[in-house]
Structures are given as C-alpha cells and as structure tokens.
C-alpha cells in the first residue's frame, strides 16, 4: 500500500530529526545537527534492506516517489515564502557580505573538487531539453 512508503519516509525523517536534535543537545547547541542527512542515510539503508527482503512492492515505492517528484513545487512554495524584502532592504553590510561569500564559495567548488579527485565520475547529464512533464 502507498501509505507504507510514506510512513517509511516519515519515520526516517522523524528519527533523523530526533537524532540531529540529540547530537545538538550533546554538543550544547540549540540546533539540529545533520538531522535531514541522517534521515537520508536511514532511508537509503532501510529501502535497500527491504528491497533485498522483497518487501518493497511497487505501491510502497510510489509512496516515497510521490514526495520526491513533488520536490520542485515544494521548493517553489519555499521560495515564495522567503523573507525576500528583508534580504533586499537589509542594508549594505548584509548585501555585500552575502554577495562576497556566495562568490567565494562558488569559486571554492572546483578547487575542492580537484583536490585528490582522480576518479571523477560524471553524471549522464546529456538530457534533452526539459519538457513540462519531466518532473511530474
């Protein structure tokens, strides 16, 4: 059933968020340390195990895949609920700091990528022009 997939996904996220809070608490900070990342690892491990046991039926997978395919619309909603006005009118320090940090961080990506990176496997990114149906 579809709900099994969504329940598995939710269970992984909640477990991850709790572990992330606990790590933060253990470190003495009021923040979630890697909760979502831990949840992703849990999902990968759990889905792999269930697949091997033959317990990951197609409808169950759809209960997860639906949420991954609705990712972009959710990101659009996220963008629409950001405090963009505060970002734009935050004063010169904020704008300059933001711009400089973003440029520097972009520039560091190839630098660190090349560091000890001999086996760079590239993704098959040669996809045709994206059509409207692609993410639905």
């Amino acid at each position: 059933m579809v709900i099994y997939g969504t329940a598995l996904l939710s269970l992984c996220l909640i477990t991850g968020l709790i572990l992330g809070r606990l790590i933060g608490w253990a470190l003495g900070i009021d923040a979630n340390v890697g909760g979502v990342g831990i949840a992703m690892l849990l999902l990968i491990l759990a889905a792999g195990r269930l697949q091997d046991m033959g317990l990951l039926a197609r409808p169950t997978q759809n209960g997860v895949l639906f949420w991954s395919s609705i990712y972009i619309p959710i990101v659009v909603a996220m963008a629409a609920s950001q405090n963009v006005r505060a970002a734009v009118s935050g004063g010169a320090v904020a704008v300059v700091a933001g711009i400089i940090v973003v440029i520097a961080s972009f520039a560091l990506v190839p630098l660190i990528s090349h560091m000890g990176g001999t086996q760079r496997e590239s993704m098959p990114s040669a996809q045709p022009a994206p059509s409207g149906d692609e993410h639905e």
């Binding site: 996904l9 470190l27 979502v36 992703m40 990968i44 639906f66 996220m78 405090n83 940090v101």
Partner: protein, 258 residues
Amino acid sequence: MNELWQIVQSVLVKNSLLTAFALVGIIVGLSYIAAHRFASGRVHGSAIAILIGLILAYVGGVVTDGDKGLADIECLAGIGLMGGAMLRDLAIVATAFGVRLDEFLKTGLSGIVALIAGVFVSFGLGALVAFAFGYRDAVSMTTIGGGAATYIVGPVTGTALGASSEVIALSVAAGLVKSVLVMCLTPIVASWIGLNNPRSALIFGGLMGTTSGVAGGLAATDEKLVPYGAMTATFYTGIGCLVGPSVVFFLLRSVVGT
C-alpha cells in the same frame, strides 16, 4: 461583488493548502511553458518557477509588511505550510530514495573538507565585511560572519554572544541575501564550477550550507544532484552554530582585541 469575493475568499482560506497546490501548479506550469517557448530549453523551467516564487515573496512582503513572503497574505497562508521546513525536509529525504550508499561514502572526505572550508570562509569573509563597514568589535563581527554562513547561524551566534538586536537583524539579512543569491545564481554558474556530478554537488552543499539556497539552486540546475548537495548542507548550520560562539569568536577576539 464584494460579497462574492468574501465567499470565494473564505473557501480559499479554509482550504489554504489546496489553494497553495493550485497556485504553485499554475506557477510551475507557466514557467515550463515559458522555458520551452522563449528560452528554448536553455533555462530550466524550475529555475524560472523559483525566480517567480522569489519575486512573489518580495511582493507579498511589501504588501503585507510581514516576514513570510506570499504566505502572509491570508488566503495564501498554505504556501507557508507547503514550502515550510516539514514538507521541504520530507521531499528532500525522498530524493535520496534510490541513491546508492557508496556514492555518498566515496566522496565523504571531500564533503567534510568542503563543510569546514565553507563554514570558516563564510565566517571570515562576513567578519571582514563587517569590519570594513565599521562593526569592529569581535561580537558584532562574529555575528555578521555567522549570518554570512546561514540566517540561522547568525542569530544563534549573536544571541549566545549577546550581540545588539541591530547586528542580529543584519546577520539574518546577510543570510537571506546569501540564500536568495544561491537559488538564483547556481543554475547560471553550474557549468563554470563543474557542478554536474554527485561529487561536486556534495562539495557544493558543504560550501554553501544554506539548505533553502542549495535545495532551490540544485533543483533549478539538475534535480538528480539534490540529495548529494542536501546531504552535506544539512550539517552546515549545526557546525556553524557550534564553532561560531566558540572557536570563531575567540579567534576574532584575539585579532581585533575587543
């Protein structure tokens, strides 16, 4: 006529999540048509949709004087739920479904290097900019530097160190500028910085750190890269909150004195 709108509005408000689904669906649809028609596929439809979302968020902020963008308009409050942390994190985790574990582990070390470099570079540059603008005490410099990390690290650091509310507000603004810029610029610079494989996406997430920026930027670049960038970005804010009020503050205080 006014009465008619009231009736419509009351339905929209009561079903705000459905209103959000419908509106976002229309935005995404129009964006994909625009990408196809006018940009002949060179610009990703999702990039246009995210940009429209940001513009609408600005309009919403101006109209309502609130801080949640479009979600502050009563009948569009569902946008806030749909794009809030709960469903966003659920969708991010779902993108990891089908990813192989060894792809994460193979690049684990560069991810950690990227995280540490990203956090300290953001703090350092943010603090330098703060210094240039006349904020020359270690507390303010660390707080604004934290904002240049993410808009959560800034206020957490500032509160821990007892920074003034003006400085904390600036740090939040710096983090918002960063997140908006990462969303808009990532698809543009992606090919220059080699952002086309899982390894560079992991590094990208660790360097940028802003979950919303990385989520939006990678979605607009190549959806397949999302789980990798999100994986490292999710550790960034925690590490920033950890080192900000401690290591970074002590370092800066030993440099500027006060």
